[in-house]
């Protein structure tokens, strides 16, 4: 059974519909990547999983259970953790406090888990008492991901984890994503840096204008000439139509 399934979801914000029947799934152990031009609805599809917008059609299934339109605070308790693209840490809290907040819904002792996170992200261990807002971009992303991992989620949703990072850090982030996945957590990731993302992906989906356009393994998508032409030129996504807000 898939960990996460979206079946023909339809929805948007207010009067604007963005998703016109998107389907995808994430199976145990996978890294699944969503790519596509600006305005394709990639981030929106992810937000739909987390209950951040109203779906008017279709289903979201977590381990087979319907969680369509469940509010975010409950989705998190069911084991889905989401790292938004921006504002994904608490800047005035220390690194340690950010991780503690990540574990907010846990009643048990999460110190072992915190140790694991520090092992996963050594730079955070040294800076644990530092205010998160003073860290570099790459380190902030680590805090954001570590925080999300505190709940040992069934699946991790990452919205453009490499956005705004220098090329050096981008590589680091992707290798971190791989490491997290290696610990057993499936990952659904939206990315603009399509090539690097597909390189570590098990499978990928290409969305355009809120609809599925391509689907395949990471390798298949990289090798596909059409996908390559549209999205993989120099690692940057070239939007076929004028860019709109994603």
């Amino acid at each position: 059974m898939s960990v996460l399934e979206l079946n023909s979801v339809v929805g948007g914000y207010g009067d604007t519909q963005i998703l016109h029947g998107v389907s995808l799934r994430v199976d145990p152990g996978e890294i699944v990547v969503i790519i596509g031009p600006n305005g394709a609805g990639k981030s929106t599809a992810m937000k739909a999983v987390f209950g951040l917008l109203r779906l008017t059609g279709g289903q979201v299934l977590l381990d087979g259970t319907d969680i369509t339109n469940t509010p975010p605070e409950q989705v998190v308790r069911k084991g889905v953790c989401y790292v938004p693209q921006t504002s994904n840490i608490f800047p005035s809290l220390t690194v340690q406090e950010n991780l503690e907040m990540g574990a907010y819904v846990r009643d048990d002792d999460f110190t072992p888990r915190m140790r694991e996170i520090y092992e996963l992200f050594p730079p955070l261990a040294e800076k644990r008492r530092q205010t998160a807002g003073t860290l570099s971009g790459g380190q902030r992303q680590m805090v954001a991901m570590g925080k999300a991992m505190m709940l040992e989620p069934k699946i991790l949703l990452l919205d453009e984890p490499s956005a705004g990072l220098s090329p050096k850090f981008r590589g680091e982030i992707f290798s971190i994503v791989k490491t997290i996945n290696a610990t057993g957590t499936p990952i659904l990731m939206v990315e603009q840096n399509a090539k690097q993302a597909l390189n570590i992906a098990s499978r990928g989906y290409v969305l355009v204008d809120g609809k599925n356009v391509f689907e395949g393994t990471g390798r298949e998508l990289i090798d596909d000439p059409e996908v390559a032409e549209m999205f993989l030129g120099g690692g940057k996504a070239a939007a076929p139509n004028g860019g709109k807000n994603g």
Partner: protein, 296 residues
């Protein structure tokens, strides 16, 4: 020098502590609930009148009965939130501001109805100041106020730094959206905000009443300096509010010192204007405040 410290600096610190306590509540409400609570001043007044009644009833010192008054004030705050703010939680923020504006007058009218508008006192009698080291002159009640205010600020610090709910409050002040995504119980944090804000408001009011007197407009008169302190310190930054309050209190008292020549630098009738000018200056120069709070 002695005159400067005893008649300007110490009163400034005293006033500043009062402002600081009020400002912490305002900055938390601003940061977590995202609106300027105009009713905060009159909540302070309410706390004072609860204290006054308790003093009348028990014949105890106002600072002794204050904890009970704080509980009563907090209960009123929570009730107000439930009845008037919660229904507007998802409405545009300006509706909450208008509602709080209305509540300001409603709370005041309730106070005026039940207690009347004559001046009252919680600590009658004049206290002789004590002299220390042949230099400092300060009355016992002022010492008590400053000590209590510092104790309360320390308690707030402890809450915010070492407790789960305190950290959740700071987290939510940083980003309510992320707090929600993280699974933080936002209604619980909101309640905690009213509890802390209400308790501190009561204390601020009572300290002012102990220092001066009890009257129905006293909270409203504190409102502007308290807002100014919160903005100065950075909205949503409780430690900023503490610093902001002290700065404004000291500045206000210092403004009537004879820096140049014989007379006060600023006509004491305009003391209230000092806080206002500082606030406008901050809004022009650095709206995020000294400690980089929110600008919205």
């Amino acid at each position: 020098m002695a005159e400067f410290i005893n008649f300007y600096l110490i009163p400034g610190v005293l006033l500043g502590s009062i402002y600081a306590l009020g400002a912490i509540g305002i900055t938390l409400t601003f940061g977590i609930l995202r609106f300027a609570n105009f009713a905060h001043g009159d909540i302070m007044t309410l706390g004072v009148y609860f204290t006054w009644s308790l003093v009348q009833f028990t014949d105890l010192h106002p600072l002794v009965v204050m904890p009970v008054a704080m509980v009563l004030t907090v209960l009123c705050s929570l009730l107000i939130d439930r009845a008037f703010y919660k229904p507007l939680r998802n409405a545009p923020v300006i509706m909450l501001v208008i509602a709080s504006f209305g509540l300001m007058l409603m709370v005041r009218s309730v106070i005026q109805f039940f207690w009347g508008v004559q001046l009252k006192s919680v600590l009658p009698g004049i206290q002789m100041p004590m002299t220390f080291l042949d230099f400092f002159r300060i009355s016992p009640k002022h010492i008590m106020i400053i000590v209590c205010a510092l104790a309360l600020m320390a308690a707030v610090h402890y809450l915010l730094t070492y407790t789960k709910i305190g950290k959740a409050m700071r987290a939510m002040a940083d980003s309510p959206e992320l707090a929600r995504l993280t699974g933080i119980d936002t209604e619980k944090v909101v309640m905690a905000t009213w509890v802390v804000g209400g308790a501190l408001a009561c204390a601020a009011g009572v300290f002012l009443a102990v220092d001066t007197q009890v009257e129905t407009m006293m909270g409203f008169k504190l409102l502007l300096p308290v807002f100014a302190a919160a903005i100065l310190g950075g909205v949503g930054r409780p430690y900023g509010a503490m610093v902001g309050g002290l700065v404004i209190g000291i500045a206000e008292e210092m403004s009537s010192y004879h820096w140049i020549g014989d007379g006060p630098l600023l006509n004491p009738g305009y003391k209230q204007g000092v806080a206002f000018v500082i606030m406008i200056a901050m809004l022009l120069w650095r709206p995020s405040g000294l400690f980089k709070g929110k600008v919205f």
